[in-house]
Subunit: 430 residues, 2 copies
């Protein structure tokens, strides 16, 4: 029996919306948004899309009209009653009422601000300007829309069974990873793949497959909508945008040097336990830890998001030891460019030396490598970053010069202030 109403309803949509909910975003964006809403509500920030993989000519693949329709649809979204109830009533990281009533009232009334879109050199220039807590919520949906429109463009000419076999192959590929991952003792792994997913439905499938295949070794997803629907933990803490904006606002070199720690001081006031995770690499991990105040060594853990991950973890372990902390009580979260081999290698290397967990991103939710002719679905490195704050450019150095951002003179100044020497250059795949 055909369900006529469903069929008619489906055909009523003018577009097939990619992002259908304001909580189809990473949990840490909401945590950071609440922090920003409290600490820097009026800072004027510009977010900008940056395609690090210039060979993917997005403006040639993706129709501008379709992109605008998707972005316009996101601007029509507001928090639903059920989503609001979940955010207000759910327990996150063991804490009830993680989101304060004043933040929730603001969020419930929020519509995302306008965007600016232009084509240049085969790429889209997509920017979002406005009050920080508003524009920051564009990052994840904007990335997800571009990634999925690119997927759709590649899939458009394919036949029905060819498509089914493509997904069959992708499912098999993910499941083979699951079968390898479940061999790893004491694995703790979360989905961090929202921003560069192949599509929403595919991410949702991957999360469910991991749930069945990994059981308790799969600890949750960064995606709030999927966490809510699939009843798994929402995972995430904080990101580079906090120190990037704080440092951009600094009035002089001394304030600049202090700013990354100011961020964490603000964070410490709001969060405890497993949410106290240091992200040390924004201006170089070595210098950040060397010059860190003692109270930071008491935090629960660290997230390694650039550079050689094993080296970063060794640095963190040494630092804890120097500050009189036992690394075995500390949590190290790896979240940069992971795939199964690297996860297995890091698991083995740090077993028993610290608590380890993994935030697995693009190669969980978008590994269609070698599944299409010309590898047209291979993932690529698309980011959406805060590029200025109150008119001043932001800077990110990272532990990998290939991930650095900002004007050359400012980068040089930051390197001087933060004492960053030559760094190893590592190819950025995803």
């Amino acid at each position: 029996m055909v369900d006529i109403a469903t069929r008619v309803y489906n055909h009523k949509w003018k577009i097939d919306p990619i992002v259908r909910s304001l909580i189809d975003t990473d949990f840490y964006k909401l945590l950071m948004c609440q922090s920003v809403f409290r600490n820097k509500p009026d800072t004027h920030v510009t977010f900008s899309l940056i395609n690090r993989s210039k060979h993917i000519r997005l403006a040639e693949l993706i129709d501008e009209g379709e992109l605008r329709e998707q972005l316009d649809h996101i601007r029509s979204l507001s928090l639903s009653r059920g989503e609001s109830t979940w955010l207000r009533g759910n327990t996150f990281y063991g804490k009830r009422q993680m989101f304060r009533p004043d933040f929730m009232e603001w969020f419930e009334a929020l519509r995302l601000p306008p965007y600016h879109l232009e084509k240049r050199d085969g790429q889209y220039e997509l920017t979002f300007e406005g009050r920080w807590p508003e524009v920051m919520l564009w990052e994840i949906p904007a990335l997800a829309v571009l990634m999925e429109l690119r997927s759709r463009a590649v899939l458009a000419p394919m036949g029905r069974f060819e498509l089914q076999v493509l997904y069959a192959r992708a499912m098999t590929k993910l499941w083979e990873k699951v079968e390898r991952l479940r061999q790893l003792p004491d694995l703790r792994l979360a989905d961090f793949g929202t921003r560069r997913r192949h599509s929403f439905l595919w991410q949702d499938w991957c999360v469910q497959a991991m749930l069945e295949g990994l059981g308790g070794k799969f600890i949750g997803t960064s995606n709030c909508l999927i966490a809510m629907r699939r009843e798994v933990e929402a995972i995430g803490t904080n990101a580079h945008e906090l120190p990037m904006v704080y440092t951009a606002l600094a009035e002089d070199d001394a304030a600049l040097k202090r700013a990354p720690y100011d961020v964490l001081a603000d964070w410490q006031e709001e969060h405890s336990g497993n949410l106290r995770i240091i992200l040390p690499d924004t201006y170089g991990t070595e210098g950040f830890l060397r010059d860190a105040p003692d109270w930071l060594a008491g935090w629960t853990g660290i997230r390694i998001d650039s550079g050689d991950p094993a080296k970063g973890a060794e640095t963190a372990i040494r630092w804890w030891q120097e500050r009189g902390e036992d690394p075995r009580n500390k949590l190290i979260i790896f979240s940069d460019g992971l795939d199964v081999d690297k996860i297995a290698e890091l698991s083995a290397q740090f077993a028993g030396r610290a608590r380890i967990s993994f935030g697995w991103g693009t190669l969980m939710t978008n590994d269609f490598r070698d599944l299409t002719p010309n590898d047209a679905l291979a993932p690529f490195s698309l980011v959406c970053k805060a590029v200025s704050a109150d008119g001043r450019p932001t800077v990110k150095l990272s532990d990998n010069p290939n991930k650095a951002m900002g004007p050359a003179d400012e980068v040089a100044r930051y390197k001087r202030v933060f004492g960053v020497a030559d760094q190893e250059r590592i190819e950025v795949v995803v």
Copy 2:
């Protein structure tokens, strides 16, 4: 939106029936049935299930109650109006009204006769006794039921995503075959996989995937129900059961020797063109062709169903040449134990020397090899054969002693009468 009515309807079924239509069977069974209905309507025949793969202990895998429910369900089936209309009105092999009105009236009133089921030594003994045109229609549904119940038994403990990945892998496997097959110039290939399919839905998927993936190189399916629903050609001619029963009925050695040709004389009265296909191997291809009447060399083609297929085809080509026929105008149909390698090899070997086509069976519709632990879904060799006619045992020699059937003394007599010498023994996988 949940379609409540569909859901309730689905849950009303006491069982999930495997065979849901009397035309979920091979086209050649209906052609032969019509021939038998005209020529030997009152012959009393026994069909019996034979599992050549003794290591598959079907009675331990499959619950007897479930098997009986499925067989009972088949006995409740009768030809639907749409099915009857299709059989009466469709064009088969370029001919309208292939099925005569008297046969259709009989078929419309038919219910399948009772079955006899016992367990012995971990196997099921399943037999069908009665008038030949009735009991012969049990063959395909009985095989399909046993094959699919075995699949279900193996799949029962699997998780939802594990199952989805299993089918993903099977789809990928078939599609890789399609991708190789479409490289073959002048390929003509049909689905002959009903009897040993993994399941009905899987066969239906395979046929649709071949349609999309192979286009005009896929010429149709032996399955009438799928041919009707997917609007492709129904393919098939005749099988060993005709000469097996005709010879069993022979009163003396002279009549025995003549019987296989009598079958084809009857067939020639009814059918022309691409339906005049010789199946020469029932009592040895060499002797059958050597002693054949001249009119048989005028037939359209030959089907190679046992022994080394290249050798069989070479024998046929030589025979046509000896009889003054040009093999390039003849059709050779390969239908025994095919998979892609063998299809490619035979295609290359006989290109330009004869018209070639392939009836691809078990390794199209049931290739789940290496997809489950212990290879629990590997296909196996299950057949359902006429074992006696009017109280006399049937005999099949075939071009492979591993496919021979019948009591030892009768096999010896047939070998003598048909002049069959030592034959090459070839392993029967499917």
